[in-house]
Every structure is written in structure tokens, then in C-alpha cells.
Symmetry: C2
Subunit: 332 residues, 2 copies
DNA sequence: CTGAAAGCGCTTACAG
DNA sequence: CTGAAAGCGCTTACAG
């Protein structure tokens, strides 16, 4: 039989309540009693039963991480897991556990989330931006359930969220080129209706404008984020009368195609041309030529999300909507 | 106030025990009572309190996934997360939750694992092979704590584990070349003291031997798994008097270097040379030339690990040591 | 500073 | 087929 708080109480010659108070560090307990109880705990090798503690306290010190965990997601979207590691690590530091939850093949995500809240198996939820919708948002807000969304949701501004500032990342890219006095510059964008892509382009353009460097339309090419289009775009740009001195690829997929075109054309980077992209991917480092990367440490964003969900639990009325974690420019 | 089992009992005009029995699907309850209770549950929108259930039942229906979740691990080792997704998904299907636990920066992993067991916050543990050691193994075995190790531990054969069969993967690679009647063949190996690398080479050699195709020592090159060595090895092999007609790279890092050398030399794959490697990585698909890949679906291994831990919980004396999930040859 | 006692919301022998 | 009651192992007002 496992040893319980009763056994410790008997061994130390005190009451169960006293043992509990020692365990929870009440300052009303005399040092002498504390020592005796601790000795008994050690002697009996006692560990509190987490199930009982959680039940008696009415809290779990557990956070649910809600996301989409499909097969192969780890290869397609490693950032999601790096964020998760950050959230997890910082929750653990603060004495919280983290339970995974998936709604990728869930036909009734609303009900799943409703159950999370009703079953009380967690004190809060961290939601990856890719899986949230208005229905889930309403549910969480109506129940005042502590939550943090990773990634700025576009549809509901009553939610709490953290996000990386893609606008700022675009600005960093432009700053880098302005500082190196490069001109003219070009931008190969992703899908126009994607927020991240739009934001990066907007930030990029804003800085150029500020420095009175206009970027004429023929230097901006929008793609559907395929390698082939990245490749074609570079071919097209470099065949211009005045080819650009810098190519900024809005994402890594475009950059893969771009690199191939640059390699074929024998372009030297950065001597002949500056080559930039955003985010480090597992394959960024084997691109040839090597781009300069404006990266965002999403692990750090995860750490911060963990801080925030804990603060929300302690103070549910807190409103948190925050751009966090500055980009950094990495020359590989 | 949240609605409890008492409220349901009162609403349905039955006792608390009866509601509990309905909830747990006892077959001694009359259909009429069942219907009435279910109606009340719906009417009151009742959901059992998970903390209370877990406490009363003495089980959690929770599994701990023990691994190393350092920053950037998601980029370096995406397979680990694909396995994790498989474990998680199949646990969820069987009504289990999964809690993450990390011992990467843990100075006392033994104590951490001891606490997992003592605190009873999980019914079992799935351990990634990279974080287990003899000390932890002893602890788990001594306490008869339900567990599955992902990856065959070399040091203790009392543990339960699942693994992919790397020997078999090596055999598949050789089979593929034998079937295409390629000769001579070469093998660029990783570190000689690494189990996976050794196994792949062993399987590869065994099949060749069986088919009376010897592989002479100059066609086998061992490296420390760097791109540069992969690159150099290919250069060296193709400069031989009788260059090989096939190059098998024991891992993707070597294959990156090999691909670069092949591209420079203008070698056509597979017309001039067969080019093989193991495992799909995020960047495998952008290698040029494209290798044929002997891949193992580690997500599937995760699914199977989940089945096994559940079986272990139901029957702790079960001994499970199993090679699972066949390799598959993928031509990209 | 310490302890007796109620209570957290279920499950499960046991009795009927 | 149903219910009264004990119990799971803690926490926490409350009294002293």
C-alpha cells in the first residue's frame, strides 16, 4: 500500500492538517514541527497523491495545449512543435503540467472544447492559432476560461493572444538592405490573402518608403508559394533591364526555387546580389546559395505564452494581446 | 456553481449511485431508468468532474510522454515529434490523455521519474529511447510501472520496447539494388559505434552476401555523418577505376553532401547511378538529384506504442519487445 | 501554533 | 434493479 498523509502524521506524532500545512508551506507552523514532519516524509518516502491534491484543491495545475497533430505535421510545420516545447518548458518551471489535445480530425471541435471546460481537467488552455474559430472563441469567452491563442486571430478581438510581429520582420528585412545601401530591391511574395505574407510585405514597403526608396511594381512578384514560381520569379527579375540587387523571398519554399535559379545563373551572394528570406527551416541551412534570414524565435514566444496563461489563471480578468519576441537577422 | 452528480440524481429522482452506474454503463440498470437519467444529464448539461472521477477511481487514464524537449529539437529531430503525434492520437482514441514531461535539462532524472511513479498522476509512461538510462530503467522495473520505450535500449532487456527494424531497412536497400541488378554497389556509413548505422549496414551486407554479391572494402566508407564527408566519399568512390553503380548513404546528412557531389559531377540518377538513403527528412525532397529513400513510418510506430502501453496497463505482467512497422521504399 | 472535522464529487462493495 | 453509506487522500475554514 502506498504511504499517505495519515502515515506521515502518525509517524511524526502530529495531525493530518499539520502535515498538510507543512506540505503547503504555511508560515504558521513552528520550525521544530516542520523539521519533524519533513524527517518523517523522508523516512517514509512519502509523495502526495496528485489525484487527491488536485481533487481537494479544485485545481489541476494542468494546461491543455490544443492543436492539430496530424501525421507528418512534424515535418511540414516544425515551428508548431518548437512553440509547443517553449510553452511546455516554461509551464514545467512554474509547476504546471501540459496535456496535449488534438482537434484535427474532430467533427465536433465545439463539443471537445466544451468538455475540456466542463470536465475541469485543466486550469487553462493554450490554443494554436491554426485550430481556433469563432465558435470555439465564443465558448471560451462565455465561460471565462483562461486561454492564450498562439497567433493573432483575425475574427475576434475579445480573445487573449500572443503573436510574432511579421510586420516588424518585414521592416527588419528592409532595414538590412537600406543599411547595406542596396538598390533596386525586389520582393517575391506568397499568397496575397495570407496575413503573414501581407504583413511582411507591408513592413518591407513601409521602411523603403520612409527612406524614400520606392519599389516599382515590376520588382514585386506574387506567387502561390511554390518552388517553381520562386524559380521563375528570379529568372524573370534577373532578365530585367535593370535587375534588382536584392531578392527578398517571403518564405522558404519560394527561397528554395530562388536558390536553384541563382545557382544555375552563377550569381554570387552577396557580391552580385543580396538574397533574403524569412524563418529558419530545417532545410534553410542546405540552401545554396545561402540566404540571409530574418528569423523569429518561436520557442521564445512559447515561453512567453506559458507565462501569460499562468497569469491569466491567477487573474482571469486580465486582457493580454501582445506582440512578443523580436525578429533577428541571421547570416548563415 | 457547477452541476454535480447530486443535481442529476435529484432531477431524475434517483440516487447518486444509480446516476454513477448509468454513467459507467452498468448493465444492471433498467432501460427506463437509464433514459430518465440521460434526459436529466442533458437537461442540466452535466459533465462529470474529471478530477473527482480520477480520484475516486484511483486511475487517471493519463499517460506521460517522457522525452527531451530542448529548444530547436523540432528542427533537428522532427521524427521524435511525429512519433509523439502517433502515440498521442491513438491514446486519445482509447480515451487516454497524454502529458508531456521533459528531462533534457534535468539534473536528477531519477528523482523526476520516481516522482512520476509516486505521485500517481499517470497510469503509465512512454519513454523516448534517447532519454532512458539504466537507473531509470531499474526504477520503472522495480515499481512495475507500465511503460513502453520507443527504441530498443541496449543495456537492459527487462524493459518493454518497440522499435523500427533498421536491419530490415538495410536489407530493403540491398533488395532494391539486387532487384535492379546493380553492381558494384557502395555504402557510405555513419559513425561506427551507432546502433542504427551498424544495423543498416549489417542488413545491407547480409542480403548482398545471400545473393553472392560481395562488397569489397574499398566500396564501404565510414564517416562521422557530416555533409563534407558525404561529399568527399562520393568524389572518392567515383574516382575509382571501377566506380560503383549505386551509392547508399546511411543517413540524410551524408546524402546532402553526396547529392552536391553528384550534381557537380553531372551524374544522372538513376541512369548513371542509383542513389539511396534512409528516412524522409523535411529537406529530403529538395535534394537534387533525388535519392530513393528507404523510409520507416514512425508515426505508425507511435500508434503501436500507444496500443501497447494501454495493454500493459490492463495487464502489467505482459512482456512486450517488438519490432514494428515495416520499412517502405519511396522513389520521390 | 495545532487539531478535529467537514468537504471536494465521484465509485463501489454491500444490502435489500 | 436500486439505494445508503463508506471511502478515495487531500485541503481548509474554524475553534482552541
Amino acid at each position: 500500500m502506498a504511504v499517505t498523509i495519515k502515515d506521515v502524521a502518525k509517524h511524526a506524532g502530529v495531525s493530518v492538517s499539520t502535515v498538510s500545512k507543512v506540505l503547503n508551506d504555511w508560515k504558521t507552523i513552528s520550525q521544530e514541527t516542520k523539521d519533524r514532519v519533513h524527517a518523517s516524509i523522508l523516512a517514509l518516502n512519502y509523495t502526495p497523491n496528485a489525484r487527491a491534491v488536485s481533487f481537494a484543491r479544485g485545481t489541476t495545475r494542468n494546461i491543455i495545449y490544443l492543436t492539430a497533430l496530424a501525421e507528418g505535421e512534424a515535418y511540414r510545420n516544425p515551428h508548431m512543435f518548437d512553440i509547443m516545447c517553449g510553452v511546455f518548458t516554461n509551464l514545467a518551471r512554474q509547476g504546471y503540467t501540459m496535456t496535449m489535445m488534438d482537434i484535427s480530425d474532430d467533427e465536433h471541435p465545439r463539443e471537445t472544447v466544451a468538455e475540456i471546460i466542463a470536465r475541469k481537467s485543466a486550469d487553462g488552455v493554450v490554443i494554436h492559432g491554426s485550430v481556433i474559430n469563432q465558435e470555439i472563441a465564443n465558448l471560451i469567452i462565455d465561460h471565462e476560461f483562461p486561454h492564450i491563442v498562439i497567433g493573432h486571430p483575425e475574427f475576434d478581438n475579445r480573445l487573449c493572444w500572443v503573436d510574432t510581429n511579421h510586420l516588424l520582420a518585414g521592416q527588419y528585412a528592409a532595414d538590412y538592405l537600406v543599411n547595406h545601401d542596396v538598390s533596386p530591391v525586389s520582393f517575391i511574395g506568397g499568397r496575397r490573402n495570407e496575413l503573414i505574407s501581407k504583413e511582411r510585405e507591408r513592413g518591407f514597403r513601409a521602411v523603403l518608403l520612409k527612406h524614400h526608396k520606392k519599389i516599382s511594381p515590376e520588382y514585386v512578384i506574387h506567387t502561390n508559394s511554390t518552388w517553381q514560381e520562386g524559380y521563375d520569379a528570379v529568372r524573370q527579375l534577373l532578365a530585367m533591364q535593370e535587375p534588382p540587387k536584392a531578392i527578398v523571398c517571403e518564405n522558404n519554399t519560394i527561397a528554395v526555387g530562388a536558390a536553384r535559379a541563382l545557382a544555375e545563373l552563377g550569381i554570387r551572394v552577396p557580391e552580385d546580389l543580396f538574397f533574403l528570406t524569412f524563418d529558419i527551416y530545417p532545410y534553410t541551412s542546405i540552401l545554396d546559395p545561402q540566404p540571409t534570414v530574418v528569423d523569429i524565435n518561436v520557442y521564445d514566444m512559447g515561453l512567453q505564452a506559458a507565462d501569460m496563461i499562468v497569469r491569466k489563471i491567477e487573474n482571469p480578468s486580465l486582457m493580454i494581446q501582445s506582440y512578443t519576441t523580436l525578429p533577428r537577422v541571421i547570416t548563415l
